[in-house]
């Protein structure tokens, strides 16, 4: 996970000059083993992928791939299914990121206190983090299962028999909220741990001073905790949004985009387009459209981040 890159002090002082060429050579020697694979299998493919968005590349076709300019983009603009999935992606990303942040903040504040059972909460909070996403999806399918699931049984126990036999994941109205709950659950630990670290950086003296001045819990949070936590909170939220918008495995396992495309996140759509229908060029265009949204968010994140640095 990467959260922050504050601006760095620039290179060595001028007095070092004569020694520099050798040092830099040494640095290259250290860097190349990792740099080459990154260039060949990460930077290269990314550029290649951007290029593919302007071609009619398809899988298993005999004719040569042609450059088609912006044709894919104009197709994409008219592809209402894609815009549906885009909308669903945004709902999903907001729907997961915001409650996830609020819940994680609550948990972080609790774990920061001197409570019993705190160790248990910490241990449990690790589980969703360490689990394969596929298992998280399977696990929640067992929870949501219409007959054998614990959710409906619990609702029955509470006297809400309307839920009998209800299949949350295949109901048109309930599918998206149901997968959003899973998304919140799965991503909470990382956010909690990050916020907890942020809390530990909040100067305790300030807290105590505010407490002595008679500030209540809420005022202390607003005037002391939150200002110190804000840069981290902003960073973690922006990155969570990006990850959530790009997510795949969880919803693939839970609903595979169903029912009737109601949980078809953009990544699921692009995956189908590329690897079920073989439309490589068009799927790459979708990827690029997703990048556009993400770049805007990233810009917001970086701007906020820089502002946060100025505040200090």
């Amino acid at each position: 996970m990467t959260l922050a890159t504050a601006p760095r002090r620039s290179t060595a002082p001028a007095a070092d000059r004569p020694a520099r060429p050798r040092r830099d050579l040494g640095a290259w020697f250290l860097v190349l083993p990792a740099l080459l694979p990154i260039l060949v299998l990460s930077v290269g493919p990314l550029l290649y992928g951007i290029g593919l968005a302007f071609t009619d590349a398809q899988s298993g076709r005999t004719q040569a791939t042609r450059f088609v300019g912006l044709l894919n983009f104009s197709d994409l603009f008219q592809d209402s299914l894609f815009w549906d999935s885009f909308r669903i992606g945004l709902i999903w990303a907001f729907g997961v990121t915001v409650p996830q942040f609020l819940l994680a903040l609550g948990l972080a504040l609790l774990l920061h206190l001197d409570l019993r059972l705190r160790w248990l909460a910490r241990a449990l909070a690790i589980i969703p983090w360490a689990m394969p996403e596929v298992v998280v999806g399977i696990m929640w399918r067992l929870v949501y299962h219409p007959d054998a699931g614990i959710l409906n049984e619990t609702l029955r126990g509470l006297g809400l028999s309307g839920a009998d036999g209800r299949d949350w994941l295949s109901g048109p109205a309930t599918a998206l909220p149901a997968v959003i709950v899973v998304g919140v659950w799965a991503g909470m630990p990382q956010t909690t741990v990050t916020l907890l670290a942020g809390l530990q950086n909040v100067p305790r003296e300030l807290h105590e001073a505010a407490s002595m001045d008679g500030a209540g819990a809420w005022r202390r949070f607003r005037t002391v905790t939150w200002p110190a936590l804000r840069p981290i909170a902003l960073a973690v939220t922006a990155l969570n949004f990006i990850w959530n918008f790009n997510s795949f495995a969880l919803v693939f396992v839970l609903t595979d985009g169903g029912p009737g495309g109601r949980t078809r996140l953009p990544m699921l759509f692009a995956y189908e387009e590329a690897f079920r229908y073989g439309q490589f060029g068009y799927a790459a265009t979708m990827g690029l459209a997703m990048v556009a949204v993400i770049s805007v968010l990233l810009a917001v994140y970086l701007a906020g981040r820089l502002k946060g640095d100025d505040d200090r």
Partner: protein, 306 residues
């Protein structure tokens, strides 16, 4: 983050109030404090339930006999717990082969990632220049773009090299994929090693290489191990690349094979499904429990103090 750590909020503040130094009027304090504590425990309990119940349900389902799974009123604790689901799981899908594939891909890619990343992380931490800034930028960007934009070209490249549907191809992808994170963590660990130690060794006449091997490496070892285990877990859990790149059932990794239990119409044999999912999760849970503190510590060092 030690367990016994006390935080600013609670007792000390109240003692001071008790001394009459102002703040909340004294007579309200104890009742309010008790109410707050109760509220806090209630909230914590809510979190515990929310975090634990899906996992407990998975655990319970994995040990239930078919009769109980078919019941319209499922119970939390299996009445007649059985290992039958585990046997069934292995009979239905090639789980041991899949586990071996996952183990191979995760272990080899973690090892390679560490071998490649450690020198670079050292360089990034010790020489701050344009390259290190570019690398840090790349780490951020690489976390942000949608994988589909990379997987299509990767698929085409690997196909050209006849490495689609090959474990080697998958391992190559995993190595590169785990490099940004490995770099991120390792750079943090290198920064934590005081430069003065290296300089002292240099003054004593050790060359750069000897300094690295005899001074820096031993201090880095715990961080390297943590990073390697984390890379292992990430590859062990990975799904998307494996789904796209591996077609032959005998080459597929555990997460991909797990989805075969779901069946075509989402009709699943719940018991074996739960049993297999539980087995697939155990290694990463165990390893994560071992390195948890280091991971969060290393990550946070980068995130907070960078």
């Amino acid at each position: 983050m030690s367990a016994g750590e006390r935080t600013g909020d609670s007792r000390r503040g109240d003692t001071r109030r008790g001394e009459g130094r102002g703040g909340t009027p004294r007579r309200y304090a104890p009742a309010r404090r008790a109410a707050t504590r109760t509220g806090q425990y209630a909230a914590l309990l809510g979190y515990l339930v929310f975090l634990a119940f899906p996992f407990l349900w998975l655990l319970s389902t994995a040990f239930k006999p078919p009769r109980e799974l078919g019941s319209m009123h499922p119970t939390w604790v299996p009445e007649a717990p059985t290992l039958e689901n585990f046997r069934q799981a292995f009979a239905q899908q090639p789980l041991s082969v899949a586990a071996a594939n996952s183990l191979l891909a995760a272990a080899v890619s973690a090892l390679l990632a560490i071998l490649l990343a450690t020198p670079m992380a050292y360089a990034l931490a010790r020489f701050r220049n344009r390259l290190s800034r570019a690398a840090t930028g790349w780490v951020v960007i690489s976390q942000a773009f949608p994988l589909v934009l990379v997987i299509i070209p990767l698929f085409l490249i690997l196909k050209g090299l006849h490495l689609v549907d090959s474990r080697i191809g998958l391992i190559m992808v995993y190595v590169v994929w785990s490099l940004p994170f490995a770099l991120w963590m390792l750079t943090g660990y290198v920064r934590a090693v005081p430069r003065e130690l290296e300089e002292a060794a240099a003054v004593d006449g050790a060359g750069r290489f000897r300094t690295l091997v005899s001074v820096t490496a031993p201090l880095l070892a715990p961080g390297i191990v943590a990073t390697a285990l984390f890379a292992f877990i990430t590859a062990w859990n990975e799904f998307f690349f494996a789904l796209v790149l591996l077609k032959s059932p005998e080459k597929q990794t555990l997460p991909v094979v797990l989805t075969h239990f779901l069946g075509a119409e989402g009709v699943a044999d719940l018991g074996p499904l739960a049993a297999a999912a539980l087995l697939a999760t155990l290694p990463s849970l165990l390893l994560f429990a071992v390195i948890q503190r280091r991971i969060t510590g290393g990550m946070l060092a980068g995130a907070v103090k960078n």
